[in-house]
């Protein structure tokens, strides 16, 4: 019977070699990698990785202990009820930017939920300078009620100094 998917999360100060070393250990024991997301957040490097075939969570943590210690990573492993080939296509993109302040993500995502949008992918960044930071957020999602309720829902943010751009997405398939 196929082993269940595990979700590995690894976080640590960004430096070259983290991905190569972690995946070499997993490949060495015949593990299968599924979908992954890896990115630099702040000065840290964060990995989320579907893995199976390398044992249970404790065994996988044991396999990676040496690499974890060498790179000073934080490691967490969970068994998850996941499956491949479950992609969904976004049909709306929402891009938000403004001077940074607390509450942007909370307020905007609450409005999107109210408008029937399901978030599939969200990336946010803080740019600008330390004394004058700006916040930029890019969201792709599914609009269960169409794009108009989303546009109406986010219009309120203009008064709060947020620029919100809603764009329909259509995947061309041929």
């Amino acid at each position: 019977m196929t082993q269940p998917w595990l979700l590995l999360t690894l976080v640590g100060a960004d430096r070259p070699g983290i991905v190569a070393h972690v995946t070499r250990v997993l490949f060495g024991v015949g593990a299968e990698l599924g979908e992954t997301a890896m990115m630099r957040l702040g000065n840290q490097f964060a990995i989320m990785m579907m893995v199976r075939g390398a044992g249970n969570p404790e065994e996988v943590a044991g396999l990676l202990e040496s690499t974890r210690a060498d790179f000073g990573l934080k490691l967490h492993v969970d068994e998850i009820d996941a499956a491949l080939h479950q992609h969904r296509e976004p049909d709306v993109s929402v891009i938000v930017h403004s001077a940074d302040r607390s509450g942007i993500v909370s307020e905007v995502t609450a409005a999107l939920l109210e408008a029937g949008m399901n978030i599939l992918d969200l990336r946010s960044d803080v740019g600008g300078s330390s004394d004058k930071p700006i916040y930029i957020m890019q969201i792709d999602g599914e609009s269960s009620q169409g794009i108009e309720p989303i546009e109406q829902c986010v219009a309120r943010f203009a008064d709060q100094g947020l620029t919100v751009r809603v764009t329909p997405l259509e995947t061309m398939r041929g």
Partner: protein, 165 residues
Amino acid sequence: MSVEPLPILTYPDERLKTVCEPVEQFDPELREFAEHLQHTADLGPSAVGIAAPQVGRMQRLCLVDATRAKRPVDNNGPLVLVNPAITNWKGFAVGREGCLSIPDYTGKVIRAETIELTAQDIEGRTVTFKMKGFEARIAQHEIDHLDGILFLDRLVSRHADLRER
């Protein structure tokens, strides 16, 4: 049409990486194939185009139909393009593409925003079209198939966000 759809080749079938030969014979068999190809696309998951090599016929023929877009877009109607060639390009746009030959994956691709192309219709008559936006994207995707190029070969960063000009 009650006939079975044509089997669609899927990546990494080598035939999808092959440059196709020009169509030289315009006859009833070619018309019948084009109809069969359209029928095959009709039964696929919301396809707006299909190219002959996707069903293993290594000839320069493809279908482009922007009337099937979910939202209305500028279009030239349902087209059968034989021996198409893009003669002019302008602008760039990022868009998400999928492919009948690459199930369960979509990605971002940069395409020319407007194009002009010349081709032959199913009777062999020379035709020219100006296309923009979604229809131009379909045509570029399908003509790529005729040159053995898949959208996977043109993927850009999933966070690419070129604004349309």
